[in-house]
């Protein structure tokens, strides 16, 4: 009896300590996996924008903590692909260590070390001894292609060229609406048309519409991608997973990955803004903060009036 009791006590203590640790995080922080691992879901979700109702921890399944990369949430069967119809997309640097410029056409194949195939999203010219950023997309749909930073070879080139021309992605791919069916006929680099289009055209199209609001908070089951929104430091895109008419999970499809924001990512995670209707507050205050009521026009007008009022 005594033994059982002390085990129970220890278990309770560990559970309690774990609970305390979880709650050290800000309520609405969504931990973002370090670049290089696949995106992980949040432990706890609190979303209050764009018709998504706030979810309490009771309805949100606890996902695996970010360190458990690849660990399935249920031991019995492998996790189903949450994005079977989305396509991994991202940017890669095409590196050209040869002594002449190289022209690559849209749909040129890039193969990652594990054999996963991607294609160039647009024609690209890479200067001799230089690098060019290019958009690439996975040859097949599904989140297995949401790979972290990788090196790619270009199988369309000769073996010799492949040792000095290759591609590198510095950031993980993100899932988005597919941009092109895999090409059925692919011209080799040598027969590329003369004028490559600039790389600046992003291949990511307008994504699926945001969740349509339903009366009384009911939603249709499924996975819905939100708009890709410019969040100043980069794009943010999330997808909501609806199960049994309620929000079961929110996945982060894209988040600001610019080098300049690395401090922001480490220190704050993805910010979730909270909305509310403005309403009058009753209560004593020591001071009031408001926009200055003295616009320049106002002050000029006052000055001129005072000038007239002077004795």
């Amino acid at each position: 009896m005594r033994k059982t009791f002390s085990i129970l006590l220890i278990a309770t203590f560990i559970a309690y300590a774990g609970f305390l640790k979880l709650n050290d995080k800000p309520v609405d922080a969504i931990p973002i996996a370090v670049v290089g691992k696949t995106l992980q879901t949040a432990d706890k979700v609190d979303v209050a924008l764009n018709n998504l109702t706030s979810s309490s921890s009771a309805t949100v399944p606890q996902g695996p903590p970010p360190t458990d990369v690849g660990a399935p949430s249920t031991a019995a069967q492998p996790a189903a692909d949450p994005f079977p119809n989305l396509q991994a997309q991202g940017k890669a640097r095409i590196v050209n260590n040869s002594d002449s410029p190289i022209e690559l056409i849209k749909t040129t194949r890039l193969v990652a070390r594990d054999g996963k195939m991607f294609r160039l999203g647009a024609n690209v010219t890479v200067p001799a001894g230089g690098q060019t950023m290019a958009y690439i997309y996975a040859d097949q749909n599904g989140s297995a292609y949401a790979i972290g930073p990788s090196r790619f070879s270009l199988p369309g080139l000769s073996d010799a060229m492949q040792t000095i021309v290759y591609a590198v992605s510095d950031k993980a791919m993100a899932m988005a609406k597919p941009i092109a069916a895999p090409a059925k006929t692919v011209a080799t680099a040598a027969s590329a048309p003369t004028k490559p289009t600039p790389v600046s055209a992003p291949p990511v199209p307008p994504p699926a519409p945001a969740i349509a609001p339903k009366p009384k908070g009911r939603y249709k089951d499924g996975t819905y991608s939100g708009d890709s929104v410019d969040a100043y430091y980069g794009n943010v895109q999330v997808a909501a997973v609806i199960a049994n008419g309620k929000i079961a999970d929110v996945k982060i499809l894209d988040y600001p990955q610019d080098r300049r924001t690395s401090q922001y990512i480490n220190s704050q995670a993805l910010p979730i803004l909270v909305a509310e209707a403005v309403s009058a507050q009753n209560g004593n205050v020591d001071a009031v903060s408001g926009a200055s009521e003295t616009s320049p026009a106002f002050v000029r007008s006052l000055d001129s009036a005072l000038a007239q009022a002077k004795n």
């Binding site: 220190s267 403005v278 507050q281 009031v288 000055d303």
Partner: protein, 241 residues
């Protein structure tokens, strides 16, 4: 100062009239130097090309240098050049002056006070109830109403916005664009100088301003749009009741 009302409250029993006078004297100096409404201020003489920046006072040079830095940090959204020509650094001078005014009081050993110029406030320590200073945020559409109360101790708070149609803040990257979608943006930061310069820039960004502040560690914001909907950064609620 520069046509704006000043409020200073000191709780410490060691506080004296003389301390407040010292701060007001400093504000008067700032007014004489930086007020674009004073014909003979240094900034007015600079704007009329009667003075080169290289020959201006150290304080003027400092303000221009800080303005450059702020412009870089805000990708150009903070900009003291006026569309009609010349400079108006009041978006930075105001916060800086309040901050320096508060420093004067701190140097005198005071710990519990606030210093305010026209709705931008630096708080220090606690109020007369021994609690963080309770600061109300004004309803941009009804000046006699408060729509949010925050509790601040050793923080700065600044609000940018428009009450009068014909915004006095313009978008430096698109001077023709009317900024009437967002009517008020309040920023809480480690001090009022930082809160003020970033509030000024963030307001000029329109709806994106809240995202800009969300990306600054240590800063929180409360944005109100013309429809009466408020949006706040995740950590803002911790300051509110």
């Amino acid at each position: 100062m520069m046509g704006m009302p000043i409020a200073i409250e000191i709780i410490d029993p060691e506080g004296q009239e003389a301390h407040i006078d010292e701060v007001l004297e400093y504000f008067n100096y700032i007014d004489q130097t930086f007020s674009t409404y004073k014909e003979h201020s240094e900034i007015s003489r600079l704007n009329r090309d009667e003075l080169e920046l290289s020959a201006a006072s150290d304080d003027m040079k400092e303000v221009f240098s800080l303005s450059d830095e702020t412009k870089r940090l805000t990708r150009g959204y903070f900009d003291i050049t006026r569309p009609t020509g010349g400079y108006d650094p009041s978006g930075l001078v105001k916060g800086l002056a309040i901050y320096r005014g508060a420093e004067i009081l701190r140097k005198r050993g005071l710990k519990n006070f606030y210093v305010e110029i026209a709705g931008d406030i630096q708080t220090s320590g606690k109020n007369s109830q021994g609690e963080p200073w309770r600061i109300g945020i004004r309803n941009p559409q009804n000046a006699s109403e408060i729509v949010k109360i925050v509790n601040l101790s050793d923080r700065g708070i600044a609000t940018s916005g428009t009450y009068v149609r014909g915004a006095h803040i313009y978008d430096p990257l698109a001077p023709g664009r009317a900024l009437d979608e967002i009517v008020s943006l309040t920023v809480i930061g480690p001090n009022v100088y930082e809160a003020d310069r970033f509030a000024t820039a963030a307001f000029a960004m329109g709806r994106d301003g809240i995202n800009f502040i969300a990306g600054l560690p240590g800063f929180e914001a409360y944005m109100i749009d013309a429809n009466g909907l408020a949006t706040m950064t995740p950590g803002f609620a911790a300051y509110a009741n």
